[in-house]
C-alpha cells in the first residue's frame, strides 16, 4: 500500500474543495468537439454539483474511503474501488470534488454504467501554459509509444491515478514512479487486462545491469526506456531494443539520462561540497557523475607531487652525477 494509506482524516480537509476556486482554469477544458461527451458530462456534473460539492465528496468517500470497497468482477476476482482520501487532498487535483471527474449519476446506488474518466478529457492537448505541464507533448509521445502501439486500449489512467497524482520531485517519488510500471510488469493479472500473454521476465531482461535493485531505487524505468528528445518526463516509451544499455549515459561527467529528470538540471554544475552534478548527490553517489572537484584537485597535488618530485630528484642526480663522476669512480663505489 502507498505511504499515505494510513492517514484518513479526510472529513476535515474536504471542505477545502471549492469549485469557485477552480472555475477560471477549468473553463478552458470544456471546448474541443472531440471531447464533447466528456465535456458535457463534466459540465453537467459541475452545474449540478455546485451547491453541494463537498457534501458529494464526503458522500462518495463514505463508501469509497473504506479500504475494503470492492467491485465484483467475473469469477472470484474483486477489484478495489478504494480511493485514498488523503491521497486526493495531497495531489495536484486537491481542489476538486469527485463529481468534477465522475458524472453525477454516481450519486445513485448502485451506480449505473457510466463513461470512464480520462486525463485527456480535461487536459486537452493545447492546454500548455507557461511553466505548466506540456500535456500536448505527453499525449503525442504516448500515442507513439510502444504501449499505444501494442495495445489500443492503453490509456493514461493505466499508469496514472488521478486521485493521488503528484508531480515528481524527490527520491521517494522516483520509487513511486517505478511502481507505476511494476504494477503491470510484475503483476500478471494487471498485464493480461491489456494483452493476452504473460509479462516478459524483468529479471532476465535486466540481468546485464549490476546492482539492479539499487539502480531501480534511484533510476526510473523511464530514464532508460524513453526517447532522448523530450525535455522532461518523456512518455515515448520505446521498443525494448532501443532502451539505454550504455553505462556512460549516466555514469559520466554529463549524465544525460539522469539530468533529464530535473526541471532545473544545472548541467555539469559544481555544487554542494564540491560535488559535480550536485543535483544527483542528494539521491546517490553515481560513479563517474558525482565526482568531487576538491578531491580531484587533491589528486593533482598528490600524484603530480610524487611524479614531479621524482623527476626533479632524477634530474638533480643526473647533474651531480656528471660533476662527481670522477670522485665516484675513484672511490670504487657503485655509481648509483
Amino acid at each position: 500500500m502507498g505511504p499515505m494509506g494510513t492517514e484518513r482524516n479526510h472529513a476535515t480537509t474536504s471542505s477545502r474543495c471549492s469549485l469557485a476556486s477552480l472555475s477560471p482554469r477549468r473553463s478552458t477544458a470544456a471546448l474541443p468537439a472531440a471531447l464533447l461527451g466528456a465535456a458535457l458530462a463534466l459540465a453537467a456534473g459541475r452545474a449540478a454539483a455546485q451547491p453541494d460539492a463537498s457534501a458529494s465528496l464526503e458522500q462518495c468517500l463514505s463508501c469509497h474511503g473504506e479500504q475494503d470497497a470492492v467491485r465484483e468482477e467475473p469469477g472470484e476476482r474483486k477489484a478495489s474501488v478504494y480511493v485514498d482520501p488523503h491521497g486526493l487532498t495531497e495531489s495536484e487535483h486537491r481542489d476538486m470534488a469527485c463529481g468534477d471527474c465522475h458524472a453525477r449519476s454516481f450519486a445513485v446506488d448502485p451506480h449505473p454504467a457510466a463513461r470512464r474518466a480520462d486525463c485527456l478529457d480535461c487536459h486537452v492537448v493545447n492546454e500548455t501554459r507557461a511553466g505548466g505541464v506540456a500535456f500536448q507533448d505527453i499525449a503525442e509521445d504516448f500515442a507513439d509509444s510502444v504501449h499505444a502501439d501494442k495495445s489500443p486500449e492503453f490509456r493514461c489512467v493505466h499508469c496514472h491515478d488521478a486521485h493521488t497524482l503528484q508531480l515528481p520531485t524527490t527520491r521517494a517519488r522516483i520509487f513511486e514512479h517505478n511502481k507505476v510500471c511494476l504494477h503491470c510488469h510484475a503483476d500478471e493479472a494487471q498485464f493480461q487486462k491489456l494483452v493476452d500473454k504473460a509479462p516478459p521476465d524483468l529479471d532476465e531482461a535486466h540481468d546485464w545491469l549490476p546492482n539492479r535493485d539499487l539502480h531501480w531505487q534511484t533510476v526510473r524505468c523511464l530514464d532508460c526506456h524513453t526517447g532522448y528528445d523530450a525535455p522532461l518526463a518523456s512518455h515515448l516509451i520505446l521498443p525494448k531494443d532501443k532502451a539505454i544499455k550504455n553505462c556512460e549515459a549516466c555514469h559520466a561527467e554529463t549524465p544525460t539520462q539522469l539530468l533529464r529528470r530535473y526541471r532545473d538540471p544545472g548541467d555539469g554544475e559544481v555544487g554542494k561540497l564540491g560535488f559535480l552534478n550536485a543535483r544527483l548527490i542528494d539521491d546517490a553517489y553515481v560513479i563517474g557523475a558525482t565526482r568531487n572537484e576538491l578531491l580531484d584537485a587533491l589528486m593533482i597535488i598528490i600524484i603530480g607531487g610524487a611524479g614531479g618530485g621524482v623527476a626533479g630528484h632524477g634530474m638533480l642526480r643526473f647533474l651531480f652525477y656528471k660533476a662527481f663522476r670522477r670522485r665516484v669512480v675513484h672511490a670504487g663505489g657503485h655509481p648509483s
Binding site: 553505462c247 560535488f275 568531487n292 589528486m299
Partner: protein, 219 residues
C-alpha cells in the same frame, strides 16, 4: 657455506602479482572515475568488470600474503627498531644529499632486514593502512547495499567513494616513487633483477655493530 635467498619465491610471486593488480586497478579505476571522458579508452562496463575481478584478486592476494607472513615469520621485517627515527633521518639525508655525492647506502639489505628505515615506514603504512583501507572501501562499493542510504543528507556511498579515490591517488604516488627508487636507486641485491630471480647472496659476515663498520667490511 650456503648462499641465502634475498627474496623467497612466494614473496616474489606476491610482489609481481601486486604489480599487475595495482597497475590494472589504477587504470580501470581512473576509467570509472572519469567515465565518459574517453580518457582511458575502455568503456565503463569493461572497466567495471575488470576492476571488480581484480579487486577481489587483490583481497585474495593480500589474505595469502598475511598468512605467508605469519607462517614464515616475514612479519618481523615490519618491526621497527628502537632507533627507527634517527635511522630514518639518516636515510632521508642520504636520499637528499648523500645520493647526489655518490655515497654508499647507509643501511645494507640482508635477508633478515631487507627494508631500509624509510622503506620500512613506507611499507608499514602501505601494507597495514593503505591496502586494508582500499579493500574495505572497495568491498563497500562492491556491495553498496551494505552502505547506509544517506550520510549527512547525501547519497550513501560517497564517503567510501571519496576515501577509495584518495587512497588510490596515494597508491599511485607510492607506485611512482617505488618505481623510481627501484629502477634508479636500487641497492645491490634489491633491484629489479633480484626481485625477479631471488638473488642469492653470501652468508652474513660476522656481526657488525654499526652500519659504518658493516660498510667498511664489505668494501
Amino acid at each position: 657455506m650456503k648462499k641465502r635467498v634475498m627474496f623467497p619465491r612466494w614473496l616474489r610471486l606476491w610482489h609481481w602479482l601486486n604489480a599487475v593488480l595495482f597497475s590494472v586497478l589504477i587504470v580501470t579505476g581512473f576509467s570509472l572515475h572519469f567515465a565518459g571522458s574517453g580518457s582511458v579508452g575502455v568503456g565503463f562496463r569493461v572497466s567495471f568488470l575488470v576492476h571488480n575481478v581484480l579487486g577481489i584478486g587483490l583481497v585474495a592476494a593480500f589474505v595469502g600474503y598475511l598468512a605467508a607472513m605469519l607462517i614464515t615469520g616475514h612479519w618481523r621485517q615490519y618491526l621497527p627498531r628502537r632507533t627507527i627515527l634517527g635511522d630514518a633521518l639518516k636515510q632521508v639525508r642520504f636520499y637528499i644529499f648523500g645520493i647526489l655525492r655518490g655515497e654508499h647506502h647507509p643501511f645494507v639489505a640482508v635477508p633478515e632486514r631487507r627494508f631500509n628505515p624509510v622503506q620500512q615506514l613506507a611499507y608499514v603504512f602501505a601494507v597495514f593502512v593503505l591496502i586494508p583501507a582500499q579493500i574495505v572501501t572497495g568491498l563497500l562499493l562492491l556491495f553498496p547495499d551494505l552502505a547506509p542510504a544517506q550520510v549527512l543528507g547525501l547519497g550513501g556511498v560517497w564517503p567510501m567513494a571519496l576515501a577509495h579515490s584518495l587512497v588510490a591517488y596515494a597508491s599511485c604516488a607510492f607506485l611512482f616513487v617505488h618505481l623510481y627508487l627501484a629502477l634508479t636507486v636500487g641497492e645491490p641485491h634489491t633491484g629489479v633483477a633480484s626481485m625477479l630471480l631471488g638473488d642469492r647472496i653470501p652468508p652474513p659476515p660476522p656481526p657488525a655493530t654499526t652500519p659504518k663498520a658493516a660498510r667498511a667490511e664489505r668494501a
